[in-house]
């Protein structure tokens, strides 16, 4: 099945821009992975900056970490395709990111619990003790 498209491609000698785009869309490459990762990252950052609910902010932070993971895995795949013997390092990195994210989520939610017990609120704009 894969070879079908490849042969189609090979039959075409010249490529226009639209063709390039079509090929890019049909054959997503490393850059597409990275784009998706960047978009997820930005969505996560926007969530951190805009939401009032502290739990949602945490979830946005998980989005960010996830996007970073995606980047790692994408590069690992790319490098293994390129023949780099250390390509598996990306996946190792991703493992540890997941570990850290889990630990961080646990601690952070513990803090949220403690904060909620003291201030009875989960809205971050009400937690402004450091305000001048």
């Amino acid at each position: 099945m894969l070879s079908f498209f490849n042969i189609l491609l090979l039959l075409q000698e010249t490529e226009t821009r639209v063709d390039l785009m079509k090929r890019a869309a049909v054959n997503p490459d490393l850059s597409k992975f990275l784009v998706i990762g960047a978009l997820l990252f930005i969505i996560g950052v926007a969530g951190v900056l805009t939401r009032r609910n502290i739990i949602v902010i945490f979830m946005s932070i998980e989005l960010i970490l996830n996007a970073a993971n995606l980047n790692f895995i994408a590069f690992s795949r790319y490098l293994s395709a390129m023949g780099n013997v250390n390509a598996v390092a990306g996946q190792i990195f991703a493992v540890f990111v997941i570990v850290v994210a889990a630990a961080e989520a646990a601690i952070g939610l513990g803090i949220v619990i403690a904060l909620y017990r003291n201030k009875e609120t989960i809205w971050v704009d009400e937690i402004d003790l450091l305000k001048w």
Binding site: V45, V48, L49, V124, D125, I127, D128, L130, K131, W132
Partner: protein, 821 residues
């Protein structure tokens, strides 16, 4: 023994220091204080006697050469003065003033007088000042005075003389003002000091002139050089006349000659021993000492000799006429002193310097005697000084009376008492002088003054010792001290104390009546306001400590003149000046400069020595001598001083043709006038007492003028004193308005300037600071504070912005390329 003359001034000084510094602190008793004082003076006297004896009569007698202590290695370079330019000879001279004592004929006489008469007075004072709280202070000052006087007469240079001069002036001030709580005493001491100071000004100028001219202040150097200067006759006024003028002004101040005599009568406000020692025997004779010491300089200036003689004569008659009308016994004696000092200056002025010193000596004896006698009278009369309240004291105070009589006869010039010899020689030398013209006027004035002297001294004797006992009728003032004596003069018959007496003298309370309460005393024995021992004071004789010195001085006043038996008695004595070195004229000869030989006289005697000189003159066809060869001493001077006009002695001799007869005529004249004076005194005050008032009425203007001392004090007050105070007030107002105005103006300027600077600081500088602070506080602070929202997502946003900036920086090149395209 001469080596130890430096002890002579030192011993009284040590005694004074002990008494002054420790007398009060250690509460010495009167015996100890008196013992220290008298002992120190007695020791000084003994050393002086021994030194003078060994100097003049001993084995290795150095007379006639002066002996300086620096010869024996006691030299002390007091002022290393360095080079001073002189206006003759060498361009520069080394002016190193040394502190050394000189023992020579003149200073030896003064040493003996000062210590000897001083010793008598000290002993008297221990009795007179008994009971005073300031006993120690009195003897401290007296010791200081002795020291200063001895430095004056024993010094070997003019600066030491000046030191002693000032020192005796100071001690005179201290002692006149001894009763410092009395206004009269304070005024009198100030007057004495200031008048002295006027004279000292002239003296100081003369010393400057001496140093500038001769390049040295040592006597031996100065006189050695002065010998060779040309003589300045009348009409020629040279440098030596200037120096002599300055010296004489000093002498006028110190010895109370005519324009500067005003202090001496007021100085009677001090205690009587002070009056005796300072204002009779010693301090006032310092002027004579100075004139005789510098006789070289004076004899070089005929004008100054004339001035000296005339002022001396004027003073003599002036003071004598005032003394006739005074009622305070001490004032009479004071004016008598002034008059006799005039006599001494007369002697110096006519060239008889040795006779002047002789009169100093005899005057010291009889005047000190009379002052101490007056003190004894005052003491016995319980401090009554007005002679109108005395009388008939002869039988109450016999010792005082007989010793006083010796003094009276001496001052009147009765042969053979001491005063006769000296006064007669003065008058003879005045009549026969060839140094100056107008000698006959000097003689005439002197004779009249001698008459007045005899008159008022007899008056004093009569009012005090003879006649009716007036003190029984009008009780004596009692407890009136010398300072209140002037109250009598002002006509206050009774005087009230104005102030309470100071601690030193427990006597009066303010308002306490001091004086006779009632005319009738018989009911009021012992009921006076204070002490209870007034009423009819029966005078009593003084204790032994007081009349024994009187006796000693009386003996001296009687026989003391025999050292100067004059040449008129050469038929009896065989020589012109009998006694060899003991004769005062012979003794003093080496320090007298002879204008004929232009050298100091040699010890064989000027008069004998002038014989060969005189022949030398005849041989060398000297300028014609107006009189014959018998005029040895005086005629020779005529060769130097030119024609001096009418010469009384020569005129008389012209008719008698014998010098001896001439001399005896003058002796007879002076004895006769003395007798006339005494007889008149006895007439007016013993046999016909009413005549005194009659004649004082008839000669009213003269009497008033004399009684008011010719208004000299008032004149000085008007012209000098008040004008000086006006000047002081003017200067003060100038200073307080102008000078202080400038200072205050500067202060105002400073204040104004400081206000400006302060305003600048306040508005400009502080404004700057405040602006900066406000900028930070009001503008920047809220701005930065706004960043601390406490809102975590704001911080996260900032982080994102930073991340974005980092990315942009990473792609800066490309971004710029985008825009650059």
């Amino acid at each position: 023994m001469q080596k130890y003359i430096w002890l002579v001034p030192l011993l009284p000084l040590i005694g004074a220091a002990i008494n002054g510094l420790l007398g009060r602190k250690l509460r010495f008793s009167e015996q100890i204080i008196g013992g220290i004082a008298v002992g120190s003076v007695a020791l000084a006297f003994l050393i002086s006697v021994a030194a003078v004896y060994s100097y003049g009569f001993g084995g290795h007698a150095e007379w006639p050469n002066p002996y300086l202590t620096s010869q024996d290695g006691f030299s002390f370079n007091w002022i290393p003065g360095g080079a001073v330019s002189v206006n003759h000879g060498a361009q520069y001279a080394l002016l190193n003033i040394e502190w050394s004592y000189q023992l020579d004929p003149l200073s030896s006489i003064f040493m003996l007088i000062v210590t000897g008469v001083g010793l008598c007075i000290f002993i008297f004072a221990t009795g007179y000042m008994h009971g005073e709280a300031g006993f120690y202070r009195f003897f401290a000052y007296m010791g200081m005075f002795m020291f200063a006087m001895l430095v004056l007469v024993m010094g070997s240079n003019f600066l030491m003389m000046f030191v002693g001069w000032e020192g005796v002036g100071l001690c005179s001030y201290l002692l006149i003002g001894y009763y410092f709580d009395r206004q009269e005493a304070a005024n009198a001491s100030r007057k004495a000091f200031i008048t002295n100071r006027v004279g000292d000004f002239g003296f100081a100028l003369a010393i400057f002139g001496i140093i500038a001219t001769f390049g040295s202040a040592q006597y031996v150097n100065v006189f050695d050089q002065a010998k060779s200067y040309p003589i300045e006759l009348i009409g020629h006024w040279g440098v030596l006349s200037w120096i002599a003028l300055g010296l004489f002004i000093g002498a006028c101040g110190k010895s109370a000659q005519l324009p500067l005599h005003v202090w001496l009568p007021d100085a009677m406000a001090g205690p009587t021993p002070v009056s005796a020692l300072i204002h009779a025997a010693t301090m006032v004779t310092a002027g004579l000492y100075m004139v005789t010491r510098t006789n070289v300089i004076f004899q070089h200036s005929q004008t100054m000799m004339l001035v000296v003689a005339l002022i001396g004569a004027a003073t003599a008659i002036f003071a004598a006429t005032i003394g006739i009308t005074q009622n305070d016994i001490k004032k009479v004696l004071a004016y008598s002193t002034v008059s006799q000092l005039g006599f001494m200056f007369m002697a110096c002025g006519v060239g008889a310097f040795a006779i002047g010193i002789f009169h100093v000596m005899t005057h010291a004896f009889f005047k000190a005697l009379m002052f101490l006698g007056a003190g004894s009278v005052i003491h016995g009369m319980h401090h009554e000084q007005d002679m109108r309240r005395m009388g008939g004291l002869k039988k109450y105070m016999p010792y005082t009376y007989w010793t006083f009589m010796a003094g009276w006869l001496a001052i009147c010039g009765v042969i053979p008492f001491s005063g006769f010899w000296s006064k007669d020689e003065i008058l003879w030398n005045a009549a026969s002088t060839t140094h100056i013209p107008l000698g006959w006027i000097v003689w005439l004035v002197g004779t009249i003054a001698a008459t007045c002297t005899a008159f008022y001294m007899t008056r004093l004797m009569a009012m005090t010792f003879w006649g009716r006992e007036r003190f029984l009728e009008a009780p004596a003032g009692g407890e009136a001290d010398e300072a209140h004596a002037s109250a009598y003069d002002k006509g206050l018959t009774q005087h009230d104390a104005t102030f309470a007496s100071a601690g030193d003298r427990p006597r009066h309370e303010p308002g306490e009546h001091v004086g006779p309460v009632h005319e009738d005393i018989s009911h009021h024995v012992g009921t006076h306001g204070h002490g209870g021992h007034h009423g009819a004071h029966i005078p009593h004789e003084s204790p032994a400590s007081m009349w024994v010195p009187l006796a000693v001085l009386a003996i001296l006043a009687t026989v003391g003149g025999l050292v100067g038996i004059g040449p008129a008695f050469r038929t009896l004595t065989g020589t012109q000046h009998p006694g060899g070195r003991l004769n005062i004229v012979t003794w003093l000869n080496p320090i007298i400069w002879n204008p004929v030989t232009r050298e100091f006289n040699t010890p064989e005697g000027a008069h004998e020595a002038t014989a060969p000189v005189e022949t030398a003159h005849a041989e060398t066809a000297a300028p014609p001598i107006a009189e014959g060869a018998a005029e040895a001493e005086h005629g020779s001077a005529a060769a130097v001083y030119g024609d001096t006009g009418f010469n009384l002695a020569h005129a008389v001799e012209g008719s008698t043709h014998s010098e001896l007869a001439t001399e005896w005529i003058f002796i007879i004249i002076s004895l006769v006038v003395a007798g006339i004076g005494m007889l008149l005194g006895g007439l007016f005050y013993v046999w016909r007492p009413a005549l005194a008032d009659v004649w004082s009425q008839r000669l009213r203007p003269l009497y008033v003028a004399s009684y008011n001392k010719y208004w000299v004090d008032e004149f000085y007050g008007l012209t000098v004193t008040r004008r000086t105070m006006d000047l002081a007030r003017a200067v003060f107002s100038f200073d307080s308005r102008f000078v202080d105005g400038i200072v205050n103006g500067l202060a105002s300027l400073s204040r104004l300037f400081s206000r400006i600077v302060g305003g600048f600081d306040k508005y400009f500088v502080d404004g700057l600071v405040n602006t900066v602070a406000a900028f930070i506080m009001r503008l920047m602070s809220p701005l930065f504070r706004a960043a601390q929202t406490g809102f975590t997502q704001n911080y996260a946003l900032v982080m994102v912005i930073g991340l974005m900036v980092a990315v942009a920086v990473f792609f800066a090149r490309d971004i710029l390329a985008v825009f650059g395209r």
